[in-house]
Amino acid sequence: MRPQASPAPPVLDVRDLDVVYALTGGQQMRAVERLSFAIGRGQTLALVGESGCGKSSVAKAVMQLVPTAGGVIRLEGQALGPLGGDALKRLRRRFQMIFQDPISSLNPQRTVRQILEFPLKVNGLFDKSESERRIRATLDIVGLDSQQMLGRYPHEFSGGQCQRISIARALILDPVLLVCDEPVSALDVSVRAQVLNLLGELRQRLGLSMLFISHDLAVVRNVADCIAVMYLGRICEAGDAQHLLEHPAHPYTVALLSAVLHADPAVPPRRVALQGEMPSPLSLPTGCRFRTRCPGAQALCAAAEPALTALADGRQVACHFPYSVARPAANASAFFQPEDIAP
Amino acid sequence: MLIVLALLSVATFSMLELLPGSVVDAMLSDNARPEEIARLQHALGLDLPMHLRFLGWLGNALQGDLGRSPLSGESVSAAITHRLPVSILLMLLAQVLALLIALPLGIWAGSNAGRRVDRWLSGGAFGVLAVPHFVLGLLLILLFAIWLRWFPATGYVPFGAEPLASIHSLALPAATLALVEAPIYLRLLRSDIASTLRAPYITVARAKGLSERQILLRHALRPSSFSLITVLGINVGHLIGGAVIIETLFALPGLGRLLIEAITQRDFVTLQGLVLFIGVAFVAVNLVVDAVYALLDPRVGVRHAR
């Protein structure tokens, strides 16, 4: 599969990303292993997976908040890794992040105005009247009333409002890429809907690209164009959102989907139970890393680790025995690099 | 740890260099003459350059030889071993007393945080805290040694000879120290217990049907004792080096007195050895404290801000 034949490079291009944490006692933990994906302009990639599988680590690595142990991260074609200090700082305004906990991500000692001014000041964009206009405009975009908000402190706002403020803070620098690390997990259903709607609207209006991290498949379904499912630091399945959700090929994706509860008693639970617990990332099982919990594990799974290979419909799966694909994909995802796709 | 000790000995040495005067002043007669001063300085090696003296001292110290006081002629290690028992016993008694006061009261106040008991106990703790220890010691002497004659005012009976008399002789200084420290312990324990009692697992314990008493002793006490132990460790570390004011007040031959005499008499050999010893003791105590943490809180990788 070729990327959509456009000369412009993808907004975010991550290739063979490794994130390794040094633990106390000299141990090393590979939280993310040889991870590759790309996000085109205006597109949203969702990263899903169990807690601790390395989703946040990917986000932080993209944001250059943790050192990468290997691989290249390119933003609009420019590799971030080799950029040092000032160059990176200048580039930082192009990609911004939204965090899971809306309250914790705002400095409790600063007013909303100070919070929103800060990115401008740091980037030397501050200019009294112009900034004021910009702040008000951004607050408008996220649907907050600037009149009432500016002089107040974060703890005076609800979680949804706080999350809007932190979205405004990210937007004020005009980024092309928004990395959202579980931006709605901490919110109530009613508020969650507001924020999801807002993100969708922004995507349309501003043409933002997004890396959206969540473990809630229903949410992912709502925001994502394509989905990458992670398990223990590696991608186990990736592809077009709708297709992947409707026809999961990897047993883990199947299990994940089956665990979604419907607020409708008519939909019978059809759970695929996973066995056991997630293995420790410090002592991975041999062969396929999912095999210890896989209902269909076989001898081969313990012997060899499956590579991420493309199925006929363009989806990529890292499984020796993927679920059969019922029907070919209508519009196969093209966001994965050709190199990753086995012939 | 080694860095800490290295820093310590360099710091001591350079500080001593800055102090005006030398041990020679204390040794010489009132009408000494310059030649005598020079001769003594030479004899004591004080005329060598500083770094040579430091290296020499360090070399000896590493071999366990802390030198010999030019004043009393006693070897520093002997001086320390003579006085250490006093300081240790005083420290132990004081800490035990302080804990005996602070533990029950701290638990009581902590489990009644915000109520009247708590306010009174806190107020009382602040009250005791506000009395300087030299005043406190004096009041105790007046009350218990002069008026009531229950305890001796001063002096120390060696523990080895008569343990009970020894403890009796240290009762007042230990009580003074304990009274100074108990309020601090009490406050620490109180606030930790109060915040532990707000932890979800305490609610879980309540939901299990445990009585308040069981909850306090089984569930709340251990996780609430970390700050107490940290401060206890620091205090123990410091008190091994002697409690200068208390020892002066009660005329106890502990390390604190040795310290202050070494300073006033510019007995740098003793001072240097002593500071090193205190540093080692401090570091050792903190290692013990770390071990106690590990016992109390077996979570691996959890590091308490020391």
Partner: protein, 285 residues
């Protein structure tokens, strides 16, 4: 609507306002009084704190001299007022030194890892392990006994404690998401430390400084007791207590009045610090 809300068996005891006034108002009043005396000592119609009236030495409190005279016939009230200045300088300068350097070291040790952190922690441990009295004695001997040197010595001694508090407060803050957010906005380490982290630990540090302030007053007294405090004729509370203690049984007021002043001041500071700790607004971490 419903009048009597109560938990079974428990009734609400009424507004805590009066009690709060007692707990914060009285200490504040006392401290302001001391502050006023210290600042205005020179202009108030007080007898000179150094003039000795030998004929009346050791006179008890009375009409001529409000709080009596000390052993050398100096007016105790005047000496208290002037001595408050020493205590004030010591207890404001010393915690300030500890606050500034301690928070800086603690913050750096929390923020950076590696060699810097190891070095700072070793330095702090060494400072903690160094017998504080040796340091104070040494410093006042080297630099000469004076109010400022006493303050300096006490201040340096309080650095490790402040550093610990600062580090303990900074560590959880550093993991907080608003710090990451500032990083992603392109803020430098300095900006993050000063703008994002420091304001959030300021309150605990200041509260601790208030507690330490009272410790400093007592510590100044201890130094005076050991003879390395502020030199005469400058009066200091610790010195006054120490001077009078030999005659405690003969003329108790000479020692007990400054001891009482110190007691009340230290108590007030502690109560105030405690009050502040409890009043922390819930929105602040």
């Amino acid at each position: 609507m419903r009048a009597e809300w109560c938990a079974p068996g428990r009734w609400w005891r009424g507004k805590p306002r009066a009690r709060a006034l007692l707990r914060l108002g009285l200490p504040c009043a006392w401290l302001l009084g001391v502050l006023f005396l210290a600042l205005a000592a020179d202009w108030l119609p007080l007898p000179s704190p150094t003039d000795m009236d030998f004929a009346a030495a050791g006179q008890g409190p009375g009409t001529a001299h409000l709080l009596g005279l000390d052993l050398d016939g100096r007016d105790i009230f005047a000496r208290l007022a002037h001595g408050a200045r020493v205590s004030l300088i010591v207890c404001s300068v010393a915690p300030l030194i500890g606050l500034v350097f301690g928070s800086a070291l603690g913050l750096l040790a929390a923020y950076y890892g590696g060699v810097l952190r190891t070095a700072i922690l070793a330095l702090l441990d060494a400072m903690l392990a160094f017998p504080s009295l040796v340091f104070a004695l040494g410093l006042t001997v080297v630099l000469g006994p004076s109010v400022h040197n006493v303050a300096l010595a006490l201040g340096v001694m309080s650095i490790p404690a402040f550093a610990r508090i600062a580090r303990a407060n900074a560590l959880p803050l550093i993991g907080r998401e608003f710090v990451l957010a500032a990083r992603t906005a392109g803020a430098s380490d300095w900006q993050i430390m000063l703008r994002e982290i420091l304001p959030n630990m300021a309150l605990s540090l200041l509260t601790y400084a208030l507690t330490i302030t009272s410790v400093m007053i007592v510590a100044e007294g201890s130094l005076s007791f050991l003879g390395v405090g502020v030199p005469p004729p400058t009066p200091s509370w610790g010195g006054m207590i120490a001077d009078g203690r030999e005659s405690l049984e003969r003329v108790p007021h000479v020692s007990l009045i400054p001891a009482a002043a110190m007691f009340l001041t230290v108590l007030s500071l502690n109560l105030l610090g405690d009050g502040l700790r409890q009043r922390r607004s819930p929105g602040l971490a």
